[in-house]
């Protein structure tokens, strides 16, 4: 059963969770691709 939710916009807690979740994932994705291209540049062609 879903608890009723107030029909309001994002609360401060909601904004914090959005920023944390989206920021964390976007940061991780950016880090991974950055490292990937860096290591690709360093690697001698096979």
């Amino acid at each position: 059963m879903i608890a009723p939710v107030a029909a309001s916009g994002l609360t401060a807690g909601g904004v914090a969770f959005v920023l944390l979740a989206w920021g964390g994932i976007a940061g991780l994705t950016a880090f991974c691709f950055h490292r990937l291209f860096k290591t690709q540049e360093r690697r001698p062609p096979r």
């Binding site: 879903i2 029909a7 989206w22 994705t29 991974c32 990937l36």
Partner: protein
């Protein structure tokens, strides 16, 4: 990664043409319908923003360790021993003849999911076409849209589909043919090429839809509460009280499991085309991060917020409770009729789902292809033909009878995944040995894998899996087995679906036995 390796039968093994191609193919495997339909409904039902706490805990303790482990098992089995499917991989891990039979789950799970997933995938292709032509335009209630879906599936009569199931059947055949054709084209010529086209398009479509949703504001000024902001609030405002509910933690673990395509045998298979010293730590993490980006950021923006903007909170709650199909195929088509350029965005939405689906379904087909090619020495053409015939025959009851899809989804697409993951973590961390397992995970790594994962993989992940399996058994599997809540009319179908699952499992076990008898003939490598 372009040089072909040789398998024990002396046949050249396929290989990925590029690292980016591998990442896109692996991300395509992980990014499926669940990213855009299942995740937002799960989050909305399980505490909103607070759901992200158990979600990230599960990602860290279950998802990433299992993902690395599956990559490592795949690379070990493929690069050392020429096995692209888990029966062979498990046998070389444990060095026991009977262990290969445990690997049957790495064929059974993807095969079962492939059967019903192909059908659902064909709906997305059909609905993309219906959006472009405006076939469902004019249907304005969820109930009527539900009837439209039922009549499309041939379970109800309507003037929209006078031929009954014909339309759905044609789209199913088309989808199956495309899948088989891609698999027939091989790893770099088929799967990798598909990923290089479909994945950028998928992200482009998702970003276009996300921008469209975020700029909708409050579509009906007379209902200021029905807005995208309210939708984001509904999805993300945390309800910390839900964190004490074990069901929320279980739902989060389940979502991580499905979204990363763990316990399927597909990751193993794709990773088997790596070389012995190729990096898997960074490449694997990149695919997981890409999947999370698609799920949490894009998946979290599109469906639920737009549903709140057009249906309001109360009805969106009932949509979320009804599940992914209601959201994707009944609610979204109504929304597309209410926004400017609805034909275009509807086509985009279902094309996005189709691309998400097909990049996953080919990943489900590849383990069986690899098994037939490598363990029986079949050509790719013959393997593709056998797979096509098998899926074509087994998909018939799914298309014709309503109970098959749900039954196969639970046993083959949910429960068996966790069983398989538990089996592989025990084999890899405890039988193969954690020191050797760690060496496999970290060899050639382009990032430093934190040592903490050594202990997480060894102790925490198996315990986590045992807990999940225990809860699923008590809360879902036993009631499901007893057919609680199943009407008398539907029971026969449920029993038939289970019989079919038993037959698939028995058939695959038989094939494994036959394959090894063939391999163990004089002159063949074990």
């Amino acid at each position: 990664m372009s040089k072909a390796q040789s398998d024990p039968l002396g046949l050249p093994r396929e290989a990925w043409a590029s690292r980016l191609g591998l990442i896109l193919a692996m991300a395509g495997n992980a990014i499926g319908l669940g990213n855009f339909l299942r995740f937002p409904t799960q989050a909305a039902r399980n505490g909103g923003g607070a759901f992200m706490i158990p979600y990230f805990v599960a990602l860290l303790l279950l998802g990433i360790p299992l993902m690395w482990m599956e990559w490592a098992i795949g690379r070990y089995g493929g690069s050392h021993h020429g096995h692209g499917s888990t029966p062979g991989m498990f046998q070389v891990l444990a060095r026991k003849r009977w262990v290969k039979y445990l690997g049957v789950l790495g064929l059974f799970n993807p095969m079962v999911v492939l059967i019903y997933y192909t059908y659902v995938e064909s709906w997305t292709m059909a609905y993309s076409f219906f959006s472009a032509t405006g076939k469902y335009f004019g249907i304005t209630t969820r109930q009527d849209m539900g009837n439209f879906l039922s009549s499309f599936q041939g379970f109800a009569r309507s003037p929209h589909f006078p031929g009954g199931i014909e339309t759905a059947y044609v789209f199913m055949l088309l989808t199956l043919a495309i899948n088989v054709w891609i698999l027939y084209r091989g790893i770099s010529g088929g799967i990798e090429r598909l990923a290089k086209i479909a994945m950028p398009l998928l992200f482009l479509f998702a970003i276009a839809l996300a921008v469209r949703v975020l700029t909708l504001g409050t579509p009906d000024p007379a209902r200021p509460d029905w807005s995208v902001a309210s939708g984001l609030g509904y999805l993300w405002n945390p309800d910390p009280s839900r964190l004490s509910d074990s069901g929320v933690w279980l739902a989060a673990a389940g979502q991580i499991f499905f979204t990363l395509s763990l316990g399927m045998g597909s990751i193993h298979c794709y990773a088997s085309y790596l070389k012995r010293n190729d990096d898997l730590a960074l490449t694997g993490l990149t695919t997981a991060a890409t999947n999370e980006f698609a799920e949490v950021i894009l998946g979290g923006i599109i469906a639920i917020p737009v549903a709140v903007a057009f249906f309001g909170i109360v009805e969106t709650q009932s949509i979320a409770t009804a599940g992914s199909f209601d959201l994707g195929f009944m609610s979204m088509p109504i929304i597309f009729q209410k926004i400017p350029l609805g034909h275009f965005f509807g086509t985009l939405w279902f094309a996005l789902l189709f691309f998400a689906g097909i990049t996953s379904s080919v990943a489900m087909g590849q383990p069986v292809m690899a098994f037939l090619q490598e363990e029986f020495g079949l050509t790719r053409r013959k393997a593709a033909m056998i797979l096509a015939v098998a899926v074509f025959l087994l998909i018939q009851p799914v298309v014709l009878y309503q109970q098959f899809l749900g039954e196969m989804d639970f046993w083959g697409g949910t429960f068996a995944l966790a069983v398989f993951a538990l089996v592989e973590v025990i084999l890899f961390a405890w039988v193969f040995g954690m020191d050797r397992a760690w060496e496999e995970i970290t060899r050639g790594a382009d990032i430093r894998v934190p040592r903490a994962f050594y202990y997480i993989i060894r102790y925490v992940t198996p315990l986590y899996l045992i807990l999940i399996l225990g809860f699923w058994t008590v809360q879902q599997a036993i009631p499901k087995l007893r057919m609680d809540g199943v009407s008398a009319d539907a029971r026969l179908q449920v029993i038939a679906a289970r019989l079919m699952l038993v037959v698939i499992m028995a058939g695959l076990l038989l094939l494994i036995g036959l394959a090894w008898r063939r391999r163990e003939r004089p002159g063949r490598a074990p």
